[in-house]
Each structure stands twice: as C-alpha cells, then as structure tokens.
C-alpha cells in the first residue's frame, strides 16, 4: 500500500496501463509538457512520447470523435476532457455516437474509449467548470458512468474502465484531487462495475452517495454518531451499471435512506436511486426516502457556491428526520 492523492492514483494507473498495453494512449488538451491542467499526465509524455500522450486541438467533439476512430483501428484511447462542464461541446459524439456504436453495428464494432472528466464544486473554479451533470449521461444506454470517491477506488475503477470493451465516462471529483489521500494497493487492482461499496457500517439509516459526496456523507455520519445515530454510508461507485441488489440489501438493513448528491434536485440521479429503492425495498422502508442535493439553480459563480453545495448539516438534518419518522 502507498498513500496517494486522487490525482497521483490516477496518474500512476494511467502509467501502469500504458506500460501494460502499448495500445493505450491519452488524448487531451494541455496533457503533454504541462501534464494536464491537474497534472494527471505529468511526466508521461516524456516517458511515452508525443504519439501516446497527445496534445489535441482545443475541440472536445473531435477529441471524443477521433478517440472513437482510434478505438475502431484497434487502439485503446483515454480521452481527457478538462472539465465535465465542457462535455457539452462533445455531447453529440458521446451520446449518439460513442455509446451506440456496438448496438448500431450489431456488435461488429466496439469502441473501448474511456473519457476522463473532472467535475464538482468547492474549488473556486470559473463558470461551467464545476457542474455535476453526471445524470445526463446515465440516460444513455451503452455508456457506463463511473464515479470514484477515493484514490484506491480511482485506481481500481480506472483500471477496469481502460481494460473493458464498453465505453466509460469516468468522472473525477475535483475537490478530491489533492484533498483526499488514502492508501492505494500496489500492483494489480481492479474493481468490478455495478457493485456498490459500504464506506461506513451503520444500523439506523443509509446515506447513499457517490464521488465527493461520499466524503460529505462520511462527515455527516461522524456527526450523527455523536448524537447516537448509526448511519451507514454507501458509495454507489458506478451509476451505470447500477447495483440494484446492493441498494436493496443496504435499505433492508436500515429501513431508512437519504440520497446525497451535488447536482440539482430535479432529475438528478438521486431520483433514480429513490425510485429503485421503492421498487426494490418498499416493504423494508420505515420512513420516506429523502434527498439532499443542490437546489434547482444553475451552478453559481464562486462567491456563493458554498450556499449552493449540499452541506454536512443538511445531510445530518435529513438523516435525523428519516430516523425520527414513524
């Protein structure tokens, strides 16, 4: 085990996969000499050359679009989009093209592209950079949506993404890049998609979260413990595929649930989780399932982002409400 930050874990995973498979290459803006705006590829161009760590023109659609073509030629591309908020410029290549290639070609062609896209608030970034729009990509059959929350998770999930045949949108929490440190297994470490992780054991209420909201839920669980409430924290890890059975088991064990995410409320992925809970575990429920999310306003400028983002106190209040409901 080595202690790493999230960004170090991502960088070392990319490096390990590039050493393992010469078809792995990275496309992105500023990823060469600069090493990417967050240094996810720092030093990698010097090691692997300009043909494998490729500085691309500033055009997201052709980063994703050419990654599709490269994958059709037998390469295994990782496309770095600087921020998930810029995926809109590539939306028409991700949604109707990348995600559907296998289906529309009846399996004749596969497009094993991994798109890495950082997102999330609390880092005082300019407009559009922080938007949590992961739910938009969960409504797209054929695209896996992966949300690592810790450095070890990032390694295990990114390795699975790069080695898999199906395309992945790999969403990295900006706030966790340097703030979240943790032990990362050395050598081979893969995490299967579609299996949630219990990040903290608890008996009274389940807090569902993914990405940076997992740390938020863990903080809330610690605060709740001081009040004598035992909160279980569940990290969904992958939104697509969704661990339906794991969600049922978690809710069955506590009977109460709160879903926490950074994106606005309406049609956020929390709605899908709540709906899944009522389909799968209705008779285990002791209380209505609650959501703690950002409000239905656009991501604001940074002067007011702390008000926008879900806070520990709101998660604590929701958990209390769930536990006290009869």
């Amino acid at each position: 085990m080595t202690v790493m930050t999230m960004i170090e874990a991502i960088r070392s995973t990319i490096r390990e996969e590039m050493l393992r498979d010469e078809k792995v290459m990275v496309l992105g803006q500023d990823i060469g000499k600069l090493g990417g705006v967050f240094r996810a590829t720092e030093g990698l161009q010097a090691e692997f050359g300009e043909e494998r760590i490729v500085d691309m023109p500033l055009a997201e659609a052709s980063i994703v679009g050419s990654a599709i073509g490269l994958s059709l030629a037998g390469m295994n591309p990782i496309a770095e989009l600087q921020f998930m908020g810029f995926t809109h410029q590539a939306y028409h290549q991700i949604v109707p093209q990348l995600a559907r290639f296998r289906y529309r070609s009846q399996g004749r062609f596969t497009t094993p592209v991994t798109i890495r896209a950082p997102f999330g608030g609390g880092v005082r970034a300019p407009e559009l950079h922080s938007d949590a729009i992961e739910a938009q990509f969960t409504h797209v059959p054929g695209l896996q949506v992966v949300m690592p929350s810790t450095p070890a998770e990032a390694k295990g999930l990114l390795t699975t993404a790069v080695r898999g045949e199906d395309p992945v949108l790999f969403c990295e929490p900006l706030k966790g890049y340097r703030l979240v440190k943790g032990e990362v297994p050395e050598g081979e470490h893969t995490i299967p998609f579609g299996r949630l992780r219990v990040a903290r054991e608890g008996r009274d209420v389940t807090l569902f979260a993914w990405s940076a909201a997992v740390q938020l839920a863990e903080k809330a669980a610690a605060a709740l413990a001081d009040e004598g409430i035992s909160a279980q924290v569940v990290d969904l890890r992958t939104l697509v595929p969704l661990d339906v059975d794991g969600i049922r088991e978690a809710v069955a064990s506590t009977g109460r649930a709160v879903v926490v995410h950074e994106a606005p409320l309406t049609s956020g992925f929390g709605a899908e989780v709540v709906s899944t809970i009522q389909e799968e575990a209705f008779y285990s429920l002791e209380a209505p399932v609650l959501r703690v999310t950002a409000p239905d306003v656009p991501y604001p400028n940074i002067g007011i982002e702390e008000t926008f983002l879900p806070a520990v106190d709101r998660v604590v209040a929701a958990a209390r409400k769930a536990v006290s409901a009869r």
Binding site: A61, G65, G69, L72, Q97, Q106, R108
Partner: protein, 352 residues
Amino acid sequence: MERRELLDASGALAPGIDPPLDAASTLGALELMLLSKLVDERAFSLQRQGRMGTYSAVRGQEASVVGSCLPLDPGTDWIVPQYRELPALLRHGLSIEGILSYWKGNSEAARIPEGVKVLPPQIGLAAQLPHAVGLAWGLKLQADPGVVMTFVGDGGSSEGDFHEALNLAGVRKAPVVFVLQNNGWAISTPRSKQSAAKSFAERGAGYGVPSVLVDGNDLFAVAQASAEAVARARAGEGPTLIETQTYRLGAHNTADDPSKYVDTDEKLSWEQLDPIPRVVSHLRAQGALTDEDLAGIEERNRNEVDRAIEALGAVRPPLPESLFDHVWSQPDVRLLRQREEILHTAAKGVQR
C-alpha cells in the same frame, strides 16, 4: 479555385488528356453506376409498396461516388460513409440486400460482414468525419497501409464536426480522403444558403489540407482526383479534401417532395449533365461499348437486383430478443430483468 473537368457532357475528352481509367476499368465503373441507378429505382418502388422504409437515392451522383472509390483497395482501405454512397459500398464488399436491410429496419441483416472495411451508415451528419480521422490516425500509428475515405455533403459541411475533423486531420497528417459531395441540396436548402464560400474545396486551405474541386458528374475527373488523394495518403503525405460538384436528380429521400422547392429549369439543365450518358458516349466513341455490351450489362444488373430483392424478402425479421443484444459486452442485471419482463409479455401476444 479552378475546377477539374476531363470528360464533358457529350462524352468528349478534354484536348491533350489521357483518360485516367482504361477501357476495362471504365466499363466496370459504368456497370456499377448503372447498377446503382437500377437499385434506386427498385428501392423507390419497394418503399412505395410498403416493403421498405425511407431510402435516399444516389441518382445523379453516380460518377461522384463511383469515381471516388475506384482507387480504394477493399482489402486494406476503409470507407466511412454518410448514407448516399451505395455503389462505393457494393464495390467494397457489402451486398445490395445488406444495405437495403438497414433501410428496411433490420440492423441484424444489415450488419457489416466481418472483414469488410466499412462503417455503418451515419445519420448524425458529419459525425462520421472525426471517426474517419481517428481511424486513419490509428492505422498510421500501427503502420497499417490502409487509407480511409469518408463522405459528407454540402449541408453536412456546415456542421462543426466537419471543421474539427479537417483541422485534426491536418495536424495529425492522417491518411484520410474527405469526399464532399456538393449535390446542390440539403433536403430543400440550396447550396447558396449553406455557405458564402465560393467553393467548399477552398475551405481546406484554412486547415492546411490540400483540396481539389472537380466536376462531380465527370467520372474521369473524380477518379483522377481521388487516385491522387489516395496516393498522397498512402505515401504518408496526409489528408485531402475533394469537392465533387454534382446534383441530386432525385428527392432527398422517399419522404421528400422536391416539387415544392426545386426549380424545373435548373433540374432540366442538370439532367443534360447526367454523369452516366457521357461515359456511355465516351466508350462508344472508343469502340469499347456496343449495344450488345450495354444490353449485357443491363441484363446482369437486372438479374443481380432481382436476386438481391428476393434475398431481401427472404430475410428473417429481427427476433424480439435481439432488441437487447449488443448494448453491452455483458448486459447488466437491470437490462436482463427488463428483457425478461418484456419478452414474457411479448410471448403472450402484445396488445398495441
């Protein structure tokens, strides 16, 4: 930009020009052009009989499509189509019934056979172009000798993907040939409302991509320009943009009504420039085509299309369970449950 013209509307070669194709190749190209025209006619009537879905005819653009693909080697090179390139796809290894199966709504039967280097048709216009660039770049990275040819229209060239793809192809020196078929129309929007540029070909300069403007109804001009572009790509010299100026003599597709927007005089003048009769005239003048030869070609084509349409009729419709195939390499538990529920209901007979 000067337009390349080798074979005029009467079938006469420009003075001092050697034909870029020999008589045998020209005859082969003519046969393919006539086959395309016949498929268009038969597909239109199949659609009108309710035996097929929407179909987009090639009619009028046969020289543009066939001339472009002639330098390609189906064994090594790729075609990344839009959706109006039927004869090029036939030459590259697809069957008529395979192509028509797509328009009939049967993806399983339209599946590109293993080994055939063609991507599926593209409905999101110009979205295929970055794929073509990436594919060509990937071949180059692996020292594969293949060249990629991709097609787009005058309308599609207004999309951002066109510009991003040309830009990237120039930067990476990707072995890709962009064939921009300027057929005068994007459904009902005329070329004049598509761009203020004098030609589409001149846009290549903005991306450092060599480009050429050709009479798209002139088989020889198209074939020559394409051969040069493919040779450049193969030699590692990078991409080329070819604008073929042609004209869509038919409708955009079987759901379109061009009588609402096409100027009759304009269409009549383009009919005089039909790409097929000039090849026939040229070959006759060379003594390379007799009435019997032409009758023989037409008979072979008729037999081939009859066979294909019979085969199309015999294609098994997609099974309900195929709805769920090929979304993923391994379906997840959610999809498997949806499959079970829907197929269980379907098995009892679906009330619509």
